[in-house]
Symmetry: D3
Subunit: 164 residues, 6 copies
């Protein structure tokens, strides 16, 4: 009998997707048969990019990988995981404040569904300081984005801020 | 002459009260002759529950204890402490980010009134990941709240989000 | 040939300037021939004081130093640095959460311009717990501000909150 | 053609193996086709248990799992990984000080062999405070070890300290 | 019927007692009817001062307080607590690394005896950087100790290092 | 009248000097007229390299800079600073645990001599995970050291461990 496929989910807001996120996807996909990048629709804070824009930007970057796909979700992550028959959440860790938040979220999720695991990978140190908050501030002020996002995402950011 | 009663104050927003808060109350009340749960009215961010609702929910949970009562306050905590002849602030510590914030608040309060002390107790590890922010998000998305809040609070949360 | 002047920039929001900021200025000015206190105009969150008010309050405090001046800026810090021929950013460190944020900002800035350095000084422990957020809350509730800001800034805070 | 087996390595000193380690093994084995528990022989600090004792204690606990085995190693972890054709290091994270050390080790290992990844799983909160250092101290003073280690390991600890 | 006396225990190595420790004792004694300063005899690392010397130095400093006494113990802290009918452990918190260690110790102790609580107080910021390790290094090199320890302890430190 | 020369001191054990240390020296020398790399002789833990070996290795690396020199010292850093008429200590910050230790040391030094400042620079992220402890372990086990130390230091490390 065939072993079931090992499905991982990499959830986030991706507003927008950064080189740090792409680094985690590239290294994380080796752990799974299928990796789903799951874009959270429902946010307390209004995102800069609509869900469709975020899906498009991610789709553009991941089309080179055979076993990665992107979807949006608007439910509890644990409910989404069960619907997808996914057993493992993938998350990137950068700095200590990440750790705190991720620790809380992983333990909260474990209380909601003890059968689903969270695994963490370290973001490459080169991408460690990249936060969406800083990237949007740099974009707004017309700074050079090439170290932080891909050319396609840089173009979208400039369009958003009316700088193109 | 009788020793004066040792009055402790456990201040917070309690929006809403969690099992973690209740754990601190239950263990903290042993330190004091009287413990006052003090609900902060004035908040920069609009709370989900009105002060009256928060008072009611807390009152429901603490009525089993003889020496705990709940009040609201809308002044500097140090001024409220003096008015109540309370000498000790009780706070729960969960994770490192708590520590930072609590450290700042305790030292700021000490500058405002050096005669009033702050004592900390560790939240039981079982309740450590519980944050009001996550609980409200889980409630909004219809998740199971029983690990995080009491049945009465879970009911109020569901009502707020129109899920009941 | 004369060695070029060593120009440092101490950037921030200064909403309002605190005794902790003044401590960093006083100790930091020894490192540079000229130190510019640079007030960030553009803010995601609406500041309590207008840029002009913040410039005036800082100007009042630094007039006693010969080699410190205050300016506002509304561009990327790295662009502002180059325009001023400044080579070093000065930042104060208080607590661990500062460190995280400062680490990210310093590394992000280094990616934008590797020729500009960031140096950090420790805020005197006496001023370590002072955060603008707490100070504004204390001012709003009518608390004593003398441990946190100068008399002039305290007066301005009280005026803002209609308490004078 | 068959996909190559995904081999993970869980390295450590395991002096002795704790309930926290066993929790990571039980949850980590789902990520791999084979998981090797790799006991580090060479230690700056003299361990309490000989390598053979540590191998025996771990073997006793893992014999119930089909795809987990235990080995010792006395080389650079990255060299051992290549020899075993293993591509992923598994590590448990408990508290913030773990994070710092693990961050350093993972980035150092990545510099030595960029093709090998490190993944982290959170130790169940129930086992989070368990450190070998505390366990040995409790054992030495005759305390109850059942919350921290299995009965077999508790027995070995008591023998070591001549308490049996 | 009389309420039982509330006995607190402040455990540590006190090698030697610092101004930071004395600050915690002075502020902590208000929480309890009796506060016992409990000197740990058994140490992995050889202390600079013998237990008797440490007891003497502490006794010298606390004789001015009516409800504080000093004892040594050479057992599990939780066993010592029960023997003393003490219900609360008092600990000082200084910096984040303290927090980590204290968090582990408090949760470990809670597993050993859930009926005994640990409460924390913040060391005054003026004493926050004082660690026994630094103090001994400063003493060894003949530095001025008056900011860190009392004159009596400074004298004993100088005698230890043959500087008197 | 000429402005006095601004002398900085970069103290440490340098057992051995790493690429991370060299990064701090190269970026730090811009802050000062003269930068002294000060090698601490007296150590609680026995270093791998003698003071003379450490001085020689550092001298080899810094001879390309005009305003950097290396010395050893065996006294309180603050006493050494005064003897050298140096006013500023330079330290590198890598990770959070550095921060804690550095925070304590800087505040302790400030108590010993309030006229001497400590400034911090961030180690380039590429060198952030480099710790002497890990480097010595990698050297002992015959690993490739080129990412962590210069060729000259790598050669000395191999000689120490009898691998050359």
């Amino acid at each position: 009998m065939a072993k079931p496929r090992h499905i991982g989910v990499y959830p986030g807001t991706f507003d927008p997707i950064t080189r740090g996120h792409l680094d985690i996807i590239e290294r994380g996909l080796k752990l799974f048969d299928v990796l789903i990048v799951a874009v959270a629709e429902s946010l307390s804070k209004a995102p800069l990019f609509e869900v469709d824009e975020r899906l498009e930007m991610i789709g553009h970057e991941i089309k080179k990988y055979g076993n990665v796909r992107v979807e949006s979700f608007d439910s509890l992550l644990m409910d989404y995981m069960r619907k997808k028959k996914a057993t493992t959440v993938l998350r990137g860790l950068r700095v200590i404040s990440d750790f705190e938040y991720e620790f809380q979220m992983a333990l909260t999720n474990r209380k909601l569904d003890p059968g689903i695991e969270t695994v963490f990978m370290m973001t490459a140190e080169n991408y460690a300081p990249i936060s969406s908050r800083f990237i949007k501030e740099i974009a707004r002020l017309g700074g050079n984005l090439s170290a932080f996002v891909t050319p396609n995402v840089a173009k979208k950011l400039k369009e958003k801020y009316g700088l193109e």
